[in-house]
Amino acid sequence: MRYDRRYRTLDKYRFIAGFLALPLAFYALFVISPFIQAIYYSFTDWSGGPVANFIGFDNFTKMWNDERFWDSLEVSVILAVVAPLITLVLGMFFAYMITSGGRHRKGQAIAGVAGSSFYKVVYFFPQVLSVAIIAVVWGRVFNTNSGLINGGLDKVGFDGPAWLGGDRSLALIAVMIVLSWSFVGFYVVLFSAAMGAIPRDIYEAALLDGAGRGRTFFSVTLPLIWDTVRTGWIYMGIQALDSFAIVLVMVPEHVLKVTPVFLYERFRDGQYGYATSIGVVLLVLSMAFSLIVMRIGNRDRIEY
């Protein structure tokens, strides 16, 4: 019986379970249970006091009818779709330039542009700064009267627009620029690493076949780093869906807000039940976003 196959399987799982029990318990306690609590509170009228009455779907109905929620969601979704597009394309372009954009020197199949190792470090700078600092600094840069951008426009004879305090679309563009600026360095490094792992002989073969840079990128590099791109897309999408700190610090609250800022304001007003229900919707949205990207980006993995 000891050598029965079924027993051996059981024994194996018992072994694995023994190792996993503790981490799983911690995971359940500190990750799963807060989620469940939050989901529970989203069905109550909790206002921070000792009483939280169960009110069914009232919070969600209120959200459905709340224009401010839809306004904020619109901004969040635009950011989640467009910001990754800009950031990833820029990240990929810079990474490609760093790893294989240069002239072919010393008989090498690929090489980065001159000074590429320096650029690699520089691109990563924004990643080191705290988001709050980035928001404050860019807030000054976009300042209508005394900012760098409008100051520059002034010099060449243009009257700069009110970037942050005026139009919603201008503020959205400003947020998009800052968001992409602060994350692009991370993707440059990520994609450079992925591109660096591609064997050189594939490039050499492409070169021999007469492929130019563009063709090499689309036929060799991109398919081979596709998994990294997809992961990056999901990560950036979730970052953009959030973008809480940048919007909260940089943009005046009346111009535009993203859903997490709207959620935060509900907390501030003591509407904890309503705020958690917004949080639950955000959770569902980010999960849906990840699933969709996984689905549409799914293709056969190329082994090398």
Partner: protein, 477 residues
């Protein structure tokens, strides 16, 4: 009732049953911890001429003060006054930044440990909830008592009417005691207006437009406002609503009545401003979180505009950039025309920095007495010197050397007399002001929307808040 009809076992059973019942009822009780309360009898002493509130001389007094921008020294001054009069009271003061966290749980349980509380700061207790749960004392008894300085005058009569107006919650009774005044409205440079533009402060809207036109000819803007916090505009606009439509308009706004933002008075005021905006008399472009300082610097140091919406704190806030001969002055909002229901000179001046006395405080009378001491001339003067806050005690700072701006605000309060309006909805439904008015007026001041949309947005916002079950409504008496 024969005592024999109940035996020991029954008593135990009943006790067990009540404690079982009590557990789930805690939540329900805590939200209406009023009535009954024999177990927590307030200490009371003999009323006398010197002790009109009947304070028990040897009862302890616990004062809790918010330790914020004002600090707690000014309150210690009052606590010392109290201690001097009741040496056996062992009056003590505690300061904290976490008012609600430290004080509210005990109030909710019906056993407050504090007797008078400075309910202020980011962690303040929601005063509306305290009042509707009957957890704070009605201060009418204090207002009817003889004043600290002169036994022949009631406390009520030495205070600015704003104290009572700011302390009520829709119904009768005063539940929070403000100790200083904030005056909201229009501020300007006397020097720029009188010498630079050779004009007097405009009393009517036509005069206002004329001054702005004159300013434009000299290359400066008539108005400006902090674009990052456009809600400042409310400070100058609000009294115009009251002037045009009378108090019923502002009361309707406070109580979120349908049509409150959709009447001719509101329309006339918005149209007046729409014209001013359309004529490009407004200097815009101060955005970001520090917009108010940027704007104030452009106004004081740069002399780029004449009028700004602001509050009485601006003189202190902008003092580093204000030239000596600037002549900072407060000006009431102009009248639209002779059809106005309230006169030119009406001001928006609520009392602030509130204190409350828990309804079931152990030394409730002591808490009231402490406030009576706070409303003495001596304490008011000390507050003014220490905090440069405008006291709510009439005449307390007469004869004091005052900065130009404070002096002009003082004069405006005197001129206004009874014509003080207070935007209660700013407190009760803060969201309406901070979110909806802010969003609306931002677009309005940039000329992106007009009068009709402005009214629609505010009317809709009021209806939304009225429907929102998460917002406690203050009922109209």
């Amino acid at each position: 009732m024969g005592s024999t009809s109940i035996n020991r076992r029954d008593v135990m059973k009943r006790a067990a049953a009540t404690s079982l019942l009590a557990v789930p009822a805690v939540g329900a009780l805590s939200s209406c911890a009023s009535g009954g309360g024999e177990e927590n009898k307030a200490e009371k002493g003999e009323k006398s001429k010197k002790n009109p509130l009947g304070v028990k001389a040897d009862a302890g007094l616990a004062v809790v003060v918010f330790n914020g921008g004002y600090g707690d020294k000014y309150a210690q001054f009052v606590t010392d006054m109290y201690k001097k009069r009741y040496p056996d009271s062992d009056a003590g003061q505690k300061s904290t930044t976490k008012i609600a966290t430290q004080v509210q749980p005990k109030i909710v349980r019906g056993k407050p440990t504090a007797d008078v509380i400075n309910n202020s700061g980011a962690d303040q207790m929601n005063p509306g909830k305290l009042v509707s749960n009957k957890q704070v004392a009605d201060l009418t008894e204090l207002l009817d008592a003889p004043s600290w300085d002169d036994p022949s005058v009631k406390v009520r009569d030495i205070l600015e009417p704003a104290v009572e107006a700011s302390g009520n919650f829709g119904g009768s009774g005063t539940f929070q005691a403000g100790i200083s005044l904030t005056v909201y409205g229009t501020f300007y440079s006397k020097k720029l207006l009188e010498e630079g533009l050779d004009s007097a402060y405009p009393k009517t809207w036509d005069e206002m437009l004329a001054v702005c036109k004159k300013a434009k000819a000299k290359g400066i803007h008539g108005w400006s406002y902090p674009g990052g916090h456009p809600r400042y505009m409310f400070f100058s606009i609000y009294t115009m609503f009251a002037q045009r439509g009378g108090r019923e308009i502002t009361t309707a706004m406070d109580h979120l009545e349908p049509g409150a933002w959709k009447n001719d008075a509101v329309k006339d005021v918005f149209e007046a401003w729409e014209e001013l905006v359309a004529k490009k008399y407004v200097l815009t472009g101060f955005d970001g979180t520090e917009a108010h300082t940027e704007m104030q610097t452009a106004w004081t140091k740069g002399g780029k505009c004449v009028f700004v919406p602001n509050g009485s704190w601006v003189e202190n806030e902008a003092k580093d950039t204000t030239p000596k001969d600037f002549g900072m002055s407060f000006g009431p909002s102009p009248s639209l025309d002779s059809g106005d229901k309230m006169p030119f000179g009406t001001i928006n001046a609520p009392a602030g920095e509130f204190y409350v006395v828990p309804e079931k405080a152990q030394n409730r009378q002591g808490g009231l007495e402490w406030l009576r001491a706070m409303y003495s001339k001596e304490a008011a003067l000390n507050n003014f010197k220490e905090l440069s806050a405008l006291p709510v005690v009439k005449g307390a700072i007469d004869g004091q050397k005052m900065p130009h701006g404070v002096a002009s605000v003082q004069a405006a309060i005197k001129t206004a007399g009874e014509n003080v309006v207070i935007a209660k909805h700013m407190d009760w439904y803060n969201e309406l002001f901070r979110e909806d008015f802010n969003n609306m007026i931002a677009k309005f001041m940039l000329g992106q929307i007009g009068t009709k949309q402005a009214m629609d947005i505010m009317e809709k916002a009021g209806a939304r808040i009225l429907k929102d079950p998460d917002v406690v409504k203050v009922k109209k008496s």
